[in-house]
Symmetry: C2
């Protein structure tokens, strides 16, 4: 085979391998997950949330219902509710949002709510205050078991992830979450998205 | 000398060397620099800005005067003016601010304003619109020539900088700026500060 053909094949293989190791980045805006009881209080007993958009993680969806978050310093209106219902109310905001509300929210993995911050949620008619459940989501990478194998990482592992963009940076302390229910995606919040020059389609690479 | 004494000395030397290589990080809020002509228009001919606070960079100071920034989508009130006067008006905001204003501002080094975005500045009485001068400041490290030597970097060099915090990350693409007028400090904006868990006293280390 001619040398230039070999060169071409090597380059193509390298390109495709490299592409395979790119993870799609998604910026998560502020949102909340409600319990059945929370929905009963905020929207009425037995109320059913209105699904409007499927999210990248299978089974997760955005609803048309909105609430306001009320803190001692400020209010954030029009916050989206994500379904389905959960066993605990969880409200996820950015550090900027926490500053607007005037609440010291901890950086936590989803579900780890013990000792997290309290928050008041309100609709036009009523409100609900929780003592804990408000967090700044810790950046993380969802991986399917197949992709975890491909990337050679395991559940709960902490890795670095480089984001490719106009404003590149390497996120340290990124937690890996593996489940057969996940689609491989890296999740950051909007402070992180703005800091790394995120645009729709930005990708990241796991580094060690 | 006893082995434990040597251990102690080595540890102390390592600690102090490591400390010496830490750079203080500062988060810059949105601000603007005005020209003499800009001050004349916004505050009156011959008006003298009122210095209220010295900044870390020698000769630079915050003023008590404030302006609003007005964009097609929103307004940001109460934006601080930094002195002294400059030869060109320069308005520095974060990506979050750009989103609030509804203006696509480029990421630029200070002073590189050609083809940057336009903005309207307003006081209670009057306003001033510039065609270019609005930027998102590119993260950078000010270094004195002595410290540049110590860190083995030169003016305009691009480095990585790791920020130590609860939410550690490594900023890629950080520009080095060396001048005898600088005090050694790393400057990031508030999106970046929130993304890296910045608190007053956070430090960074140059990496290669």
């Amino acid at each position: 085979m001619a040398d230039e053909n070999v060169d071409y094949i090597v380059e193509e293989v390298m390109k495709r391998i490299s592409k395979r190791f790119q993870i799609t980045v998604e910026a998560s805006g502020r949102h909340l997950h409600l319990t059945r009881e929370g929905i009963n209080i905020l929207f009425g007993v037995g109320y059913k949330l209105t699904k409007v958009k499927e999210l990248s993680q299978p089974g997760q969806f955005a609803c048309s219902e909105r609430v306001s978050l009320i803190g001692p310093k400020g209010t954030i209106k029009n916050v989206v509710i994500l379904g389905p219902e959960r066993s605990k109310i969880q409200v996820e905001i950015s550090k900027s949002d926490a500053n607007i509300l005037g609440i010291k929210a901890p950086i936590r993995e989803s579900g780890k709510l013990e000792g997290s911050a309290g928050i008041t949620m309100a609709t036009e008619k009523t409100s609900l205050t929780i003592e804990e459940g408000l967090i700044i989501a810790k950046r993380h990478i969802h991986l399917s078991p197949q992709d975890a194998k491909l990337f050679n990482v395991c559940d709960k592992e902490i890795v670095k992830a480089k984001v490719y963009s106009e404003r590149p940076l390497i996120f340290d302390d990124v937690v890996i979450r593996v489940s057969s229910e996940y689609k491989t995606t890296m999740h950051i919040d909007y402070d992180e998205a703005n800091a790394c020059g995120y645009i729709k389609g930005s990708t990241a690479k796991i580094m060690r």
